[in-house]
Symmetry: C2
């Protein structure tokens, strides 16, 4: 029961350190669960001289990937180096050399997941990537295994910790976008160039992966309608709160009659919705199944140890498969033809904030435009902004994306109307 | 890829109907995921004549368990009949006949899980029971697979939907215990004899199962300190709310230095705690891991289709194992010697409500008693109740169970002091 299983780790950053720590710290339990003594043999680093939290007593440090990819003793390669091109090459070489691969690389899996899965199967190797979405939350294996019996109808995810941290701070402390971005950067939650987080790109990549596993469909990143939170206004957050909502950056994937719509954007969530309670850097994925109904999986979306826990759980699955001789079976073999829901079949309520010339007839024009597009109003607030301008906030009835776009286009053509904000509203 | 896999179902109640519905309704996805056409061959019923939602077109109804247990065509037996003695006998016979078993029977698994797991292994059969805890929430496989890499430190579960429904109604609608019990009974959430729910026994059974999988320890039902919500006072719910807490019936299992303490009882949860947002008949399990930190798994704790989803997910796992030839591996092989945490090592804050003679010196006596037992006060509220009596509410500092019991025992010996309520307080 104590055979040795040697692993190589590509990358010795935050997650790499966490993986090495957990493999050592939880060795006894991991032995018992897998029947293997799992040991790190070599770690690929950029700089041999850098000071690290873990001394390389028990393993080799190398700057040459060949030392891992060509080492016949290494059965499992853990890729936690990030980036796309080099990571893809290394993983392809590892798989072709018959090594099982565990990766935390969401960018890579979102873009090249299909190719890598195919190469893994050709070479009878395992390829797992639980840590690529929502850090420590085991959402991928939950979709694939636990919810296998169900038809998933809808996924809503708070899958980017940086923007959730920023929006939580803006909501609870009434701070501005620039202030909270600076705070997030100081705490290490946001990078110097925050584009990937604040423009919703990171969340969109994770939604691509979730959609593949939940609906069996391969949606391209460019097919995910993506709006970020860059420059989001404290005024909208305050108005939404007053109306009973919190604004969160949510990724949504919804199935409708064999088609799927995937989008990322700020949405208004009722304050009593379970996702509304997901604060700061935490993540959560809310899954609606035809049979199970509403479930939610909550936890830390990033961080050294939470992410490393998911990586090591994948390594444990590889080890169990080695013991049972069952490597090389696709993680998910649920596939459907990818079809996108047409815009006249994508329904939502919307929150709109406009500035309007405060003179007789403008409001009538506004209501006419929406009535003609077939968009009804659920709630309207109008407040004077200054002597000449009024702020109008509208929450629409359920309406199709096509109808809303028609109304918005017509409103934008009117010089007296200025559309400032246009967010989706989640009910229930 | 379209081999047939025949199953027998013991019981045609709520969950049995749901299982049959899902196997039929989600047949296409289940085929794709397992490679098997999974079909119900026979269903054990008590009464052949009873009207049912699903006509038995595609399968046989029988009142004789032998028709299923002796049928060589049936590879998997699904036990959803409930009860202990008969269910145990049927499952043992099924396993000894080489049939895999999926059960939703928490009472049986809590009491006889170890015996059944051993018999399953002797006969190289699978035995799964995901539906036995928290209905549609895949918490058991999450503990065993997804969190295998981590050391679990603590589990807190809202695992009884009936009492959570009642407490939610009492909190939001300020109703009395008797009113909400009646409502729960009318809605079918509570049985005519609600003992198992309101006295915490159902929750304690689920905690026994969770403790086994999370800590590898076999705690007996009688070792779970169990307090229910029978007769719980609206006054305590109101005072707790005013202090920033919600009262929920929570099962807790906590590891401490290789020992475990498991208990069930009403606790005060901070209103911002994720478990505080779990309302009505929903369940949630909050898991703290050494590495992953805090995670929560939320969803419907009961109901025909949610529970059936978990049962069918287990059947899918059995089918995958048949295809891979890997049946008969224990669901969890993580085991530790069971050791209970001594009372002087179990720490909590406590909420105490007392009635006290309203005369000089009584409050001094109260504070002396607690000071001598080493129990410090975090918060104190005193209010006159009538001309002669005062209500005193205390929230203690973190204190050991042993210290608290000593203080409570001494307070109860004083005729001027009457301890009404004694609940644990969860922080953070």
């Amino acid at each position: 029961m104590e055979a040795k299983l040697q692993v190589g780790v590509l990358g010795f950053g935050t997650v790499g350190s966490g993986v090495i720590h957990i493999l050592e710290e939880h060795q006894e339990k991991i032995n018992q669960v897998t029947g293997y003594d799992i040991a790190v043999k070599s770690v690929l680093v950029r700089d041999l001289e850098k000071n690290r939290r873990y001394a390389a007593k028990e393993f080799n440090l190398t700057t040459d990937a060949d030392d891992i990819l060509n080492d016949p003793d290494i059965a499992v390669v853990i890729e936690v180096m990030g980036s796309i091109t080099t990571a893809r090459e290394h993983i392809l070489r590892a798989l072709k050399a018959g090594k099982h691969v565990v990766t935390a690389n969401k960018d890579l899996i979102a873009l090249h997941g299909d190719e890598l899965v195919a190469v893994a199967q050709e070479n009878h190797c395992d390829l797992f990537y639980e840590a690529s979405v929502a850090g420590g939350i085991p959402i991928l294996r939950t979709l694939v295994n636990a919810l296998a019996a169900d038809k998933i109808k809808k996924i809503m995810g708070i899958v980017n910790g940086t923007t959730n941290f920023m929006l939580t701070k803006m909501t609870t402390e009434k701070k501005s976008y620039d202030e909270v971005l600076k705070e997030a950067q100081e705490l290490g939650f946001a990078e110097a160039d925050p584009t990937s987080d604040v423009d919703g790109i990171d969340a969109a990549r994770k939604m691509v992966i979730l959609t593949r596993l939940a609906f069996g469909m391969n949606v391209k990143l460019e097919d995910v309608e993506t709006v970020g939170i860059r420059g989001i206004s404290p005024q909208d957050i305050a108005i939404a709160y007053q109306l009973g909502y919190k604004i969160k950056l949510v990724g949504r994937a919804e199935e409708n009659n064999g088609t799927v719509n995937v989008n990322v954007g700020p949405v208004l969530l009722p304050r009593a919705h379970p996702l509304s309670g997901v604060n700061y850097e935490n993540n959560a994925v809310f899954v609606t199944g035809a049979a199970v109904g509403e479930t939610m999986f909550y936890g830390p979306g990033a961080g050294e140890l939470p992410t490393a826990t998911s990586v090591v759980s994948d390594v444990i699955t590889v080890a169990k498969n080695i013991r049972l001789g069952t490597n090389g079976n696709a993680f998910s073999n649920f596939k459907y033809e990818t079809k996108h829901t047409p815009k006249d079949q994508v329904f939502s309520k919307y929150y709109l904030r406009l500035e309007m010339d405060d003179k007789t007839g403008t409001f009538l024009k506004l209501t006419q435009i929406f009535a003609e597009a077939g968009v009804g109003f659920d709630k309207i607030l109008q407040e004077p902004q200054d002597d000449y301008t009024a702020t109008v906030v509208i929450i629409t009835h359920l309406t199709s994306k096509a109808q809303l776009e028609a109304a918005v286009k017509r409103a934008q053509a009117e010089p007296e109307l200025k559309l400032i904000t246009n967010y989706s509203v989640v009910e229930g």
